[in-house]
Assembly symmetry: C2
DNA sequence: TAGATTGTTAATCGATTAACAATC
DNA sequence: TAGATTGTTAATCGATTAACAATC
């Protein structure tokens, strides 16, 4: 396992096919990441696609197909080495790329995110927060200082921030977004609810709409009602 | 527009094909919901699939196909009536179904969610929060009281709670989840990071993994680097 | 070697897009 | 009526699953 040859293959193929990895596969990678962490926590050293498929409630075929987009991470007759596979997936996902992040909007959501273990787990360090409220400016959240909004552009440059997390009201989204370009920023994680597009500035935006997930839940629950009603009528 | 005949058709088809609506369509409905709200805010009374497709960056064909899963909501030569379409989508999604929700874990995330306009917009009312911390028990968040964890089962029944929002650490997820069955609960919106499955109890679970979205962002940003490197090498 | 399990091809399934006749 | 735009069918595309030969 984890021989030089295999390691080579993984790296090579990844590089060859990078642009051809289906979007559907990319969206599933974070879930593999989570389950592999779980396996590591359980001190499992190897896992087969069949085992993993049972844990994750997907087909073993899909797992092998997905992982093969990036090269041969497994070994016939053995399965996958958990540590090696985890390392590979981290590599693909840019974990431990050492990204530096700043939170704009030090309200409940901003603070909740910073205090969660999420960033550390993904090798992202939060270096500052920004807020207009003079009450919170000067305090710290986790290890990061809360700075005044006036210093936004200046400090994003100075602190060499790669990612900005927008946790402020929808109404401020456009104004703040316009201040982010030309600061060397490379990604925006946008919780404002206003969909942003900064591709023209070469900035990747990930728009989060938590409410969409609430609606999906409501749909499922409401549909449960309707199906029950229908059955009652049908009989 | 909005004739009796059309309204009939909509209702009928919705009922006929309910179980055959593709999952991909359902996942897109909340986004239609958001853009239709936007159109209402802009006082637009009608919209064509072409207009909407430009706003939303999808094909007009997809919009017509999606909406037709539920029946004829539009009119040839005219387009769609914004109010009517919005009402129909709300109906499908269970908005204004009058669901009652409770938050378990009154930390930063719990408070941030309750204070956001999200629930009100979707016709969901938050009737209580629960926490172990005696410091916060007795306070209110928004209009809802924070109650002690000991009263969880009892109060979920008494308050006729439909949906529970779990905003507590992963470590407590299983223990709390087991206390939720047999309280008349119908849906769980789960932010703990521990994937739950309560189908055996007839409870729908929506597992939220915010970190997955952060990883997608990191992937895109890291990929940007690699593509640039490659180009440099290729030349 | 025999057994296990991957990597990979081919078959199936579902989702998206294009096109146009129906119709308001 | 003429113009616009939907509803709907057919064609394309992509993603998932099944199957099995390769191989550890």
């Amino acid at each position: 396992m984890n021989t030089e040859k295999q390691s080579m293959e993984g790296t090579l193929r990844e590089s060859d096919s990078r642009s051809t990895v289906p979007a559907a596969v990319i969206k599933r990678l974070p879930r593999y990441f989570r389950y592999l962490r779980e396996l590591i926590r359980m001190d499992k050293t190897r896992v087969s696609s069949a085992e993993l498929s049972e844990m994750m409630n997907v087909t073993a075929s899909q797992i092998r197909q997905d992982l093969n987009c990036f090269g041969g991470f497994g070994q016939q007759g053995y399965g996958y080495n958990v540590q090696y596979l985890y390392a590979k997936i981290c590599e693909i996902l840019g974990v431990n790329h050492g990204f530096r992040a700043a939170v704009v909007g030090a309200g409940n959501l901003g603070k909740a995110l910073v205090r969660s273990p999420m960033f550390e787990r993904r090798g992202v360090s939060v270096v500052a927060l920004f807020d207009i409220d003079r009450e919170v400016v000067g305090t710290t959240v986790g290890d990061a200082p809360v700075l005044p909004m006036e210093q936004l552009e200046e400090m994003l440059c100075e602190l060499a921030v790669d990612l900005v997390i927008l946790t402020l009201p929808k109404t401020c989204a456009d104004e703040v977004a316009s201040r982010l370009v030309n600061t060397g920023l490379r990604g925006v994680w946008n919780f404002t609810g206003k969909e942003l597009d900064l591709r023209h500035s070469g900035i990747v935006v990930e728009n989060v709409h938590i409410g969409d997930s609430l609606m999906t839940l409501c749909y499922e629950v409401a549909r449960g009602d309707l199906l029950t009603d229908e059955k009652r009528e049908d009989v």
